[in-house]
């Protein structure tokens, strides 16, 4: 009998770690990984709620499926952008792409 809150706490921790990663990492690919972390945390949240609160309608599970689909698409495109960026500027560090500044 695992209480619902346990799953939610795990989700919260993973999400916070993902946020930390987005804020701290310099390499664009690593930032992308942190974003994946956040998406997974959201999925856990969805599925936990679906399982515990309304299992007969399983909306959370459907949602989690869609999250995975969209995350995959997003990663593909994001990596394309990073490759293009690397080709133009020889760097994958987001710190060094600061042309739109004062």
């Amino acid at each position: 009998m695992i209480p619902l809150e346990h799953f939610l706490v795990v989700s919260a921790v993973l999400f916070s770690l993902g946020v930390y990663g987005v804020l701290v990492r310099r390499n664009a690919v690593l930032i992308l990984m942190s974003v994946e972390l956040m998406l997974n945390a959201a999925s856990i949240n969805m599925v936990a709620f679906a399982a515990y609160t309304s299992p007969e309608r399983f909306i959370g599970i459907i949602f989690a499926i869609f999250i995975i689909i969209v995350a995959a698409a997003e990663v593909g495109l994001a990596l394309g952008i990073i490759l293009r960026l690397f080709r133009n500027r020889r760097t994958a560090n987001v710190d060094e792409v600061d042309q739109l500044k004062w």
């Binding site: 619902l4 919260a12 690593l30 994946e36």
Partner: protein, 166 residues
């Protein structure tokens, strides 16, 4: 303490450790592998939540596809050869922000009474899931496939060879 609970704590710890590895690791490949580890742990959590289908999809798509894609990107952008610090100078503030966020979320979770329908997760009927997916949710499903198509085309355009390049 039942077996389920022990297993749960074990898997939860693994997921969190993996997450830590992603954001803290000094080596980019180590970070990528930690991510794979986390993804698998999350799949295990799905099983604990009685949705095997989802766990399968997670392993196939995420751990199998996305993680590999990320590793490819790391190779193509010469991430390991670039010898530099992996973290920027926001570390202290980011740590505070992250911790604050975690605190708020956990506080919300713990302090709210959630509506309860079942004491433990019930198994999802596989047929019913498929039925729902292709009947009630068919439009989002088709749109999702369009999204994938667009992403495919976009990725090719973005990452493909430029004019005059081989």
């Amino acid at each position: 303490m039942t077996v389920t609970e022990v297993i749960f704590y074990f898997i939860a710890a693994a997921a969190i450790l993996g997450g830590l590895g992603v954001v803290v690791s000094r080596n980019v490949v180590h970070a990528a592998l930690s991510l794979v580890f986390t993804l698998l742990a999350v799949a295990a959590l799905f099983i604990l939540l009685a949705s095997e289908f989802l766990a399968l999809v997670q392993v196939l798509v995420y751990a199998g596809g996305v993680a590999v894609l990320l590793l490819f990107a790391l190779v193509l952008t010469r991430a390991r050869d670039m010898n530099q610090t992996l973290d920027n100078n926001q570390k202290p503030l980011a740590a505070i922000a992250g911790l604050a966020l975690m605190g708020v979320l956990i506080a919300m979770t713990v302090l709210t009474t959630w509506p309860r329908a079942a004491d433990e997760p019930t198994l999802v009927d596989f047929n019913a899931l498929g039925d729902a997916l292709f009947r009630s949710w068919v439009v989002p499903f088709e749109v999702a496939s369009l999204v994938l198509l667009v992403a495919l085309v976009g990725a090719i355009v973005l990452a493909g060879p430029e004019e005059g390049e081989e």
